[in-house]
C-alpha cells in the first residue's frame, strides 16, 4: 500500500513550510484528493495517524480530505464538464479528445496552526 509513502512526502512538505512561521502545532491539514487519483481517503487518514502519532507538531492534526470531482475540457469545442460514468467524450459535441483538468490531484491546500506564544 503506498499511502504511507505519500504521507512521508506530505509530512515533509508541511514541516518545511511551517518552519517559516512560529508554529506550536498543526491542528488541521486540508487536502484535495481527485476522484481518479488512486488513493483511498480512509486509508490515507489511518496512515497519517500512524506516521504522525509521535510528532508533537502533527499528532493533534486532523486530516480534512476534500474529494475533487473529475472534470474535463473538450479539445474541440473548449467546453468544460463533469466527467461521469467513465464517459470520456464531450457531452456537448461528442468529440472524443478531451483533457482532464481536475480530479487527478493529491494537493495540500493549507494547514491550520496554533502559533507558539513564547
Amino acid at each position: 500500500m503506498h499511502e504511507s509513502a505519500m504521507i512521508d512526502n506530505f509530512v515533509e512538505i508541511i514541516e518545511n513550510k511551517v518552519k517559516e512561521y512560529n508554529v506550536k502545532k498543526v491542528t488541521k491539514i486540508k487536502l484535495k484528493v481527485g476522484k481518479l487519483t488512486c488513493l483511498c481517503p480512509g486509508t490515507l487518514k489511518s496512515c497519517f495517524e500512524a506516521v504522525t502519532g509521535e510528532k508533537d507538531l502533527l499528532k493533534d492534526a486532523v486530516l480534512e480530505v476534500e474529494e475533487v470531482p473529475l472534470k474535463a475540457c473538450c479539445e474541440s469545442c473548449g467546453q468544460t464538464f463533469l466527467l461521469e460514468n467513465n464517459n470520456f467524450f464531450c457531452p456537448f459535441c461528442q468529440h472524443p479528445y478531451i483533457k482532464i483538468v481536475a480530479g487527478r490531484e493529491l494537493f495540500i491546500e493549507s494547514v491550520e496552526v496554533e502559533e507558539d506564544g513564547n
Binding site: I13, P96, Y97
Partner: protein, 215 residues
C-alpha cells in the same frame, strides 16, 4: 491561523521522473513502462519481444516485483542487461527506484529500456518513471470488464496489449467491445491484440516498437 501551502504531494516523483526522462533523451534511449495486473503475461511478452528484437536493437530490462528475482532470472537467459528491483511492500515502482538503478546500465550503449512494473492495475498509472511510452497489458482470462473498471491505467497509456487471444474460444470475452471501450477511455491509444504463446498479432506490436525506438 491558516497557512496556504498549495503543493502537489506527487511533485517529488514528477521531478525525479522528469530527470530520468532527460537522462534517457540525452542517451537517445527509448524507455517503456509495462503495467498490468499480475498474471497477464507481461514477462512472457517481454521474453518474446527480446527474442525477436535482440539482433536489431540493444535492449535492457528493469524488473519490478514486491519480492523475488524470478522475473529477472527469466530475462537473464537472454544475456542482456537486467536489474531486478524488489519493493518489499510497495505496490508500484516510482521514479526514485528507477533513478537509483540507472548507474547499473551503460545507457549510451542501449536503444530500448523496458521497465516491467509491479503487477497492479491501479497504482502504477499514478507514478511516472521517466518513460517515453506506457503500455497497459490486459489478458483474455482476466475478463472483458477490466478497462471500464480501471480506467486510469488505460487513460494514461500509449499502447494497450490484449494478450492470450489464443484462449478466446474458452472465455466469454468480447474482443471488439473491449477495444471500443478502451478507445472511449483513451481515443489516442494504440491497441494490439496478440498471443505471447502462438505469436499471433505479435508482428504489429514489434513494428510499433521498432518504429518508435528508431524515431
Amino acid at each position: 491561523m491558516e497557512i496556504k501551502i498549495g503543493r502537489n504531494v506527487l511533485e517529488a516523483n514528477e521531478l525525479t521522473a522528469a530527470r530520468n526522462a532527460r537522462v534517457f533523451r540525452e542517451n537517445t534511449l527509448f524507455a517503456l513502462n509495462m503495467m498490468s495486473s499480475p498474471g497477464s503475461g507481461k514477462t512472457t511478452i517481454l521474453e518474446k519481444t527480446i527474442e525477436a528484437l535482440r539482433e536489431q536493437l540493444k535492449l535492457a530490462v528493469i524488473e519490478g516485483d514486491v519480492y523475488t528475482e524470478k522475473d529477472a532470472d527469466r530475462i537473464r537467459k537472454y544475456d542482456i542487461p537486467v536489474v531486478q528491483i524488489n519493493t518489499h511492500g510497495s505496490c508500484h515502482l516510482d521514479a526514485k527506484m528507477i533513478k537509483d538503478v540507472l548507474p547499473s546500465f551503460n545507457l549510451k550503449a542501449l536503444d530500448l529500456l523496458i521497465i516491467e512494473n509491479v503487477g497492479n492495475l491501479v497504482c502504477p498509472a499514478e507514478f511516472r518513471l521517466g518513460e517515453e511510452a506506457r503500455v497497459a497489458v490486459l489478458s483474455v482470462p482476466e475478463g472483458d470488464d477490466k478497462p471500464m473498471k480501471y480506467p486510469l491505467l488505460f487513460r494514461e497509456s500509449d499502447v494497450a496489449l490484449i494478450n492470450k487471444i489464443d484462449l478466446l474460444e474458452y472465455f466469454d470475452f468480447d474482443l471488439e467491445r473491449v477495444k471500443e471501450e478502451i478507445k472511449t477511455i483513451n481515443p489516442k491509444i494504440k491497441i494490439f491484440a496478440l498471443s505471447s504463446k502462438t505469436l499471433e498479432g505479435f508482428a504489429d506490436w514489434l513494428s510499433w516498437l521498432k518504429d518508435n525506438v528508431q524515431k
